[in-house]
């Protein structure tokens, strides 16, 4: 009697102790998750805070006249004339007509500095699309220079950064602002253009296309190879020293730093097979090497999770081993394999290191249209912009990071969704 009561109180005392231990453990977990979430929140706030400005660009409204004599063009369909045309003169004349009191070489240069040096080419594109505009005058919003853009945005925010501007330029912008001739507008260049050394003309289209081409090739190559390797190893290969050896090697490859794959790609694809540098083909091949182990490992896990009873049932009904794998195991394992492939692709999307070696870290202006055009990828574009001296690239960098993060979130969410939707539990 006495003894059992003793035991009971002992258990009671240990119970509260054990409950407290569990509560402490749970709180540790909550704190860990909180720290993780806080880090993500800080990252997002910082990037969005820096990058939101890049989605708008400063434009200045001017009266431009597409004067035939000024342009030195008679026939808009003659490419020779178009090339020689004095396109820069049109926005310059428009500025001079707006600010008639400006004289002197130095001041004129400063005045021309208000507009992007691509403004003339923008007008060329507009004139080619609308040939009837030749010899007419219109009032149009023209892209401002990046220094003006930085100044105008910082001035609107109340902390004007005028170190790159002369006093006169500040006065001119004040005048334009009073007359409502300067404003922020959606920055379409960011999404429609390739890279540029002028921040106001730089866009991510080239990098997004490069990433797309490279990833398509990576998926086409790595998914079939990875899945067939996994099926063979899991279903057909004999279990002996050799298959153990292969398994160890695949697991090793998954942990190899990605720069090594770049060196391998340089040695094999470029130096031996003479694949050209900087093209999506070589990028896709190198990223295939990198994602293969991930895909093989996840595919094997997916195949393993198919219960043996299904295989036995198929075989028992007289199916051959080939039919059993193709008709029963593969369809059931496919969701898991796809999830693995998406995660592998998301990894590949974020890689820069292996691409450094094969020339994809380069300044490429033209938007790539095929697998053999020189191309770069999104993370490389971020790296290149982060390294540029121009102040206006800081917000461009953050904007490109936002785009990359959006793609990654979409890919990872679809992986989770696929798993939830298609996965069967046994």
């Amino acid at each position: 009697m006495n003894k059992s009561a003793d035991n009971l109180s002992k258990i009671k005392r240990s119970l509260t102790r054990r409950n407290r231990a569990e509560a402490r453990f749970q709180w540790c977990g909550r704190v860990a998750i909180f720290i993780g979430l806080a880090a993500v929140a800080v990252l997002f706030v910082d990037i969005i805070g820096k990058g939101h400005g890049a989605f708008q660009a400063t434009y200045i409204k001017l009266n431009v006249s597409y004067d035939q004599d000024l342009l030195g063009i008679e026939n808009l369909s003659d490419p020779e004339q178009l090339m020689m045309g004095n396109w820069d003169a049109v926005p310059k004349v428009a500025l001079r007509e707006k600010f008639t009191d400006v004289s002197g070489r130095r001041d004129k240069r400063r005045l021309n500095g208000l507009l992007s040096n691509g403004a003339g080419f923008d007008l060329k594109d507009r004139l080619l699309a609308n040939p009837q505009l030749l010899n007419t005058t219109e009032s149009i919003w023209l892209l401002a220079d990046d220094d003006i853009d930085t100044y105008y945005k910082s001035w609107l925010d109340g902390e004007a950064y005028a170190a790159r501007l002369s006093d006169k330029q500040v006065v001119w912008i004040d005048q334009l602002h009073e007359q409502g001739l300067i404003r922020l507008q959606l920055n379409t260049n960011l999404f429609t253009r390739g890279d540029s050394r002028e921040p106001e003309q730089a866009g991510i289209r080239g990098a997004v296309m490069g990433s797309l081409l490279t990833l398509v090739l990576t998926l086409i190559l790595s998914f079939p190879i990875g899945v067939s390797a996994a099926i063979y190893l899991e279903e057909f290969a004999p279990k002996n020293k050799w298959t153990d050896f292969i398994e160890v090697n695949i697991n090793n490859l998954a942990a190899v730093p990605s720069i090594i794959f770049g060196l391998l790609g340089l040695a094999i694809f470029i130096n031996f097979f003479h694949v050209p540098r900087s093209v999506p083909i070589v990028g896709g091949l190198v990223l295939t090497l990198m994602t293969l182990p991930t895909i093989i490992i996840t595919s094997r896990a997916a195949i393993k999770s198919v219960p043996p009873s299904i295989r036995e049932a198929a075989l028992g009904m007289g199916a051959s081993k080939y039919q059993m794998v193709l008709h029963h195991v593969l369809p059931l394992a496919l969701p898991g394999m796809l999830t693995g492939a998406i995660i592998g692709m998301a990894q590949a999307l974020g890689e820069t290191a292996p691409l450094l070696m094969i020339g994809m870290v380069a300044f490429i202006v033209d938007v790539p249209g095929s697998f053999t055009d020189p191309a770069t990828v999104l993370p490389v574009q971020i790296f290149l912009w982060a390294d540029s001296p121009e102040r206006a690239f800081i917000e461009k960098t953050s904007a490109a990071i936002m785009v990359l993060l959006t793609f990654l979130i979409i890919m990872n969410t679809s992986a989770v969704w696929l798993r939830k939707r298609l996965e069967r539990r046994w």
């Binding site: 090339m83 040096n117 790159r164 190879i225 063979y232 097979f273 694949v275 380069a362 390294d387």
Partner: protein, 351 residues
């Protein structure tokens, strides 16, 4: 065995790619120095937009890496042009020659200044090259002549009593950077030579002289901050006591955050670097393979654009990007020899 079926297919696919690639290339390939990169990219873009042709592709591989690729051979698998923030070395010229790259056109495009800067929140700094050497070298002269001791200085006023009593803390580029090489050669060696007996050592024991004058201390006073100069600017802002080493164009763009130190009372400005009164500046070059001119379309157009007054002149767009132009006479002579595609003779005084 399923996966083995892919291997011949891949080999075949790549063999066919390589067959097509070795035939022709439509756009110019440029490699080389990360210092020249911001300038050559601007020229490439202007050339592409104005001519309507493909824009040259530019890779930033560093001067040494660029030379290695450039001198590997002739043919469309090798780059056409390499940028460099120093002159080609004689060893590189020989390598070019042995690999069949016989005719190389050398173009000097301008200058770049290296600045030592601190946050605008702290007092401006006045330094001499001797101060820089004493503060940053791994070994410095001791009390007796000819004696060398490991760098004992921890604060600036130990180096020079006119300097403030703050800890020596300098953020700078890593050894792989051309900026670091140029800094060691111009600033450290420049200060090192101020000691007569070290200067005399150059004639007697050149390798020991170089080791002494070019080696930067590794006890934490000099902090390697990576190749990203924007990062150094940010770190200086966060730590007003530190100094940073980077290219002039970053000072130019961030004048509200950082200020350049005067070196031997000369302020780093556009003008002082151009007239060579600012002591830490270096020439910038690019090299062109003559055998590729006419084979790869557009090289001549790119050269013409680069050597035009509107690009590299005093009011040109490269000056706007922070490159310091050559004097007018030199510019004219250089443009002439470049446009006539005059190759290097091999008699240049290369190092």
């Amino acid at each position: 065995m399923t996966q083995l079926k892919f291997i011949p297919a891949i080999v075949f696919a790549m063999a066919s790619i390589s067959a097509t690639s070795s035939m022709a290339r439509e756009s110019i390939e440029v490699v080389g120095s990360s210092t020249v990169y911001p300038f050559s990219t601007v020229v490439a873009e202007r050339y592409g937009r104005a001519s309507g042709k493909l824009t040259p592709k530019i890779e930033s591989t560093g001067s040494g890496g660029g030379m290695k690729l450039f001198c590997s051979g002739v043919g469309t698998n090798y780059p056409d042009i390499t940028n460099s923030s120093r002159r080609m070395k004689s060893s590189e010229f020989k390598k070019c020659q042995t690999n069949g790259v016989r005719e190389v056109i050398e173009v000097q495009v301008g200058y770049d200044g290296i600045v030592i800067a601190n946050s605008v929140e702290s007092a401006p700094v006045e330094l001499s090259r001797k101060d820089i050497f004493l503060a940053l070298a791994a070994q410095v002269p001791g009390a007796a002549e000819g004696e060398l001791i490991d760098n004992p200085y921890t604060t600036w006023n130990q180096v020079n009593s006119a300097l403030p009593d703050t800890a020596i803390e300098v953020l700078g580029p890593p050894p792989t950077s051309g900026t670091r090489d140029a800094f060691a050669e111009l600033a450290l060696e420049g200060g090192c030579k101020k000691f007569a007996w070290i200067k005399a050592m150059k004639k007697t024991d050149k390798s020991a002289y170089k080791a002494l004058c070019h080696t930067i201390r590794e006890d934490g006073a000099y902090i390697e901050a990576g190749e990203n100069d924007n990062l150094i600017v940010q770190k200086l802002q966060a730590n007003p006591a530190a100094l940073g080493i980077f290219g002039f164009s970053f000072l130019d763009q961030n004048a509200d955050k950082v200020q350049g130190a005067n070196i031997e009372s000369v302020e780093p400005t556009f003008e002082s670097i151009a007239d060579k009164s600012y002591p830490i500046s270096r020439p910038l070059y690019f090299y062109v393979k003559k055998a590729h001119v006419g084979v790869v379309p557009g090289i001549e157009g790119y050269l013409n654009e680069f050597t035009s007054e509107r690009a590299w002149g005093e009011d040109g767009y490269l000056a706007e990007k922070g490159m310091i132009p050559l004097p007018l006479e030199e510019r004219r002579a250089m443009a002439k020899s470049t446009r006539s595609l005059t190759p290097m003779t091999g008699n240049e005084a290369l190092k």
